[in-house]
Amino acid sequence: MLSGLLLIPLLGAIALLVWPGAVSGERLRRTCLALLVLQVAWSLRVLWQFDPTISGLQLEEIAPWVGSLGLDYRLGIDGLSLPLVLINGALSLAAALVTSTSTPRPRLYYALLLLISGAVNGAFLAQNLLLFFLFYELELIPLWLLIAIWGGSNRAYAATKFLLFTAVSGVLILGAFFGLALATGTADFSLQPLLGQELGMGMQLLLMGALLVGFGIKIPLFPFHTWLPDAHTEASTPVSLLLAGVLLKLGTYGLLRFCLGLFPDAWQLMSPWLAGWAAVSVLFGSLAAIQQQDMKRMVAYSSVGHMGYVLLAAAAATPVSLLGALFQMVSHGLISALLFLLVGVVYATTGTRDLNVLRGLLNPERGLPITGSLMIAGVMASAGIPGMGGFISEFLVFRGSLVPFPVPTLLCMVGSGLTAVYFLLLVNRVFFGRLSPPADDLDTPLPAVPLARQIPALALTVAVLLLGVAPQALGTLATATTTAMGRAPQRLAALPVSAAPDRLLAGGMGQ
């Protein structure tokens, strides 16, 4: 069942690569779209079979693979991974849809797209640490190629920077997994919650720190974020969409699943610092976004800020905040994908993303009215206007985190306010005002964007609205899991307190 989510894109990618003879780009595109639609349908089938009342893993699949390494093929899905698998399918499809029909080297392009989609699914479903790592690394080279081949003018630099940062993050994660699996004395990498409990606190902190930095690079958190704006600026629109919408979620997913799930004690000890770090990351991302002159860089920095909320919610680790973290992951995936998509449309039609150049694109006759309207909806959602997806997630995050960490939460709220500042700047400059006429011929309208190309953006806007209006759909899916995760640390924290007095008493009696 779950293997289908891996096999469809991965085998599809191989088939696309090795299919003999010359195949036209249009045909490749259609094959890729068909495979991605199939993948989405398959994820919906998984959704159909999923029982939201169970907090643990479902639909598990276990097969032995390499016994000597402790690596077995073990997949499972729960309320945390299912929504992410769903948005991965949807956004991969969107990325393929918005790809220009005349993209160069289509065979490699669509194969890599499928490869990434399959690898990301694998990482979300893997229930073995090494298997997760395998999929986490598998996505590295295809994305590097996607940026390096189809990127902008400075793509070589951005792609290599991305590659090195992610490779370092992979090494840190692998080291931590080794430490975890072998320090507990068993050569077993299967993912059991609370595995780290058996270790001493020093070791737990060390391993969790390595994981934290590893995933912090991927999320990205300040100060490990520097690869992201470069990668986004140079990547083409579909790749940016995937990167922001799906791949960054690997980092936050790892944070929740591995850092919090495996080391709840150490996590709790560190959580005030983590909340502080989240606030710094949010404020830095927002302030840096205000400074940007490039639309894409601005959206990229806003990602740095918005992913900080997830760290804040994870640090609080209350049932409500964790649900908020999941909502934030989903809504940020949809919203940032939408924003990158629209920035891509603007760039494709006007040839620039410079805020100092663009003016008045909302002009109904000569501008981009639909794109402009959708952009306004997108930035409203991103700034957390009630009724949109962003509001629900930010509300849940702040509501869940305010009690344990009042000051960092308030600082993050300031960051949320700053979101409105920079996005209003963007909308005000680019879409409002008077459309500056071209110097020579006064009445040349911008080329109209065909409706077919607007469909992904429209669909994403609808999804963002739906998430805001009817959040219970996602809530029902995820609540059981996030509640269980949120309770676990408290229950365990309670254990030593109740056990310790007994032991002390016993010692005293012995004397």
């Binding site: 390494l69 598998l138 080279i141 190629l145 590659l163 080794f178």
Partner: protein, 589 residues
Amino acid sequence: MNRFPLYRIGGPSRLRTRAAAATVRSTRRSFEADMDLFGVLPALTELPHLAAASLASVPLATAPAIGLGITAAQLNSGAIAPEAAILIALLVCLLVDLAGEEAAVRWVPPICYAGLGTALVLLARQWNAPLEPSFLGSFLADDLAVAFRAVVAASTLLSLMISWRYVERSGSPVGEYAAILLAATLGAMFLCGSTDLVSIFVSLETLSVSSYLLSGYMKRDARSGEAALKYLLVGSAAAAVFLYGASLLYGLTGGSTGLDAVGVALQTSATPVTALALVFVLATVAFKIAAVPFHQWTPDVYEGSPTPVVAFLSVGSKAAGFALALRLLVGCFDSFDTQWKLLFTVLAVLSMTLGNVVALAQTTMKRMLAYSSIGQAGFVMIGLVCGTEDGYAAMVLYMAAYLFMNLGAFACIILFSLRTGSDRISDYAGLYQKDPLITLGLSLCLLSLGGIPPMLGFFGKIYLFFAGWADHQYLLVVVGLITSVVSIYYYISVIKMMVVKEPQEASDVVKAYPPITWNLAGMGTLRTALVACVLVTAVGGVLSNPLFTWANGAVTGTPMLQQSIASSAAREATAIAAAPVPPTPAILG
């Protein structure tokens, strides 16, 4: 010396027009002349015969015993049946070579395949066979030896398959080339199973002398001559050092050269002489596996030598070196394992760091792969230092994985240099358009060398790091992890050249790329070897469980390794028992 460019076309046709006997004579003569230029023993040109003779002397290592009426059954000569098959192939190759170049070109390849194929089949039959020392204790065909001999034989087979066209094009006689390579293989295979200081030295020299000849085989190319001379000088020094170390060990045993006797003698003596012997022996091993700081010969030799020879040296010769390391260090110096493990840790850290960092700066493929092979040897040394079951198994596994991915990479760069005559990394720019096979093959092999999933190299590397971490070799694993990020960078930069560069950015060499043809003699086998290596590298990772079972079997089927594992476990247990128990305050009260 008459110089002409390395990759010039036209040599073979000229050779074919000559009378066969004259060819042989003239090549012999020019060979001698070249060797005289080096100031090397002219007798070395008689190498194949010398090799055959010295191989015959391996059993004679314990010559006095033969006088005492030893029967053939006690010699257990069946253990070297695979080597015998290769020896026969070697002799037949030489005989065919006498019949002229044309006959050689036609018949030498099938003879070599037959010999090596038979050897591999015979090796498979020796797997897990009842263990009996042969030739009165100078050779042992345990599973470890079988595994490493199989790696060596397979590397020769693949190296030969990728070299026919290259050798023919360079205008050198094929028969002699094959014979010398087979002699080197024999030396390497004997080295894997030798359990006596004398047989170790003889097989080591057979391997080394053949390697010197091979690296100087492009005799009209000055760089090849330089490589051979450097290799010869450094190699002879290493051999002398080994002999000195061996003589010290001989003295310690009081008159025996068997490794068992040496091991027993070392257990009871902890004199400075032993330390000296250890250092000498270790230097030889480090030279053979090109560990830093004994690596200086590698880049120059790799750059100057014919590329197929480099392919063999980087895999076959290195595998034999690791087998030697296991025999000597684990088998003999087991009682000094803290000392040699410390030394090897230093060597491994230096190799991984220097090999991978210097590879960043290289501009030619061969030099880049030379430094990368130094780094890769550093990774393998992690397994050696561990000394656990997993550690040894990871070594065997990684050598097998390295065989395929490295030879696959070499097959690609040989094919590229055959088509363009270039070896510079920048000349690969834009290759994807002109030659998808090389691009795909080289990309997959380099990704595998860099340890990217789901390639075979990923699993091999993970297993090494896993074994290292399980044995608490944190320093080694951390250095390994960091340097593999560095290695990804330089492997990726080659892929970037080939795949990412657009047609308009392509190098001049690629712009003038010849149309792809496979119908020239020797090209078909090159393609077969390339595709086979790339397939194993790409698919072998996902299906690697049998390979893991095989590697683990090689370790469990080797009494020497089992003994060492058991004794180190016992030492650990006594160390834990002997450690003072921290007093618990509650009880004291």
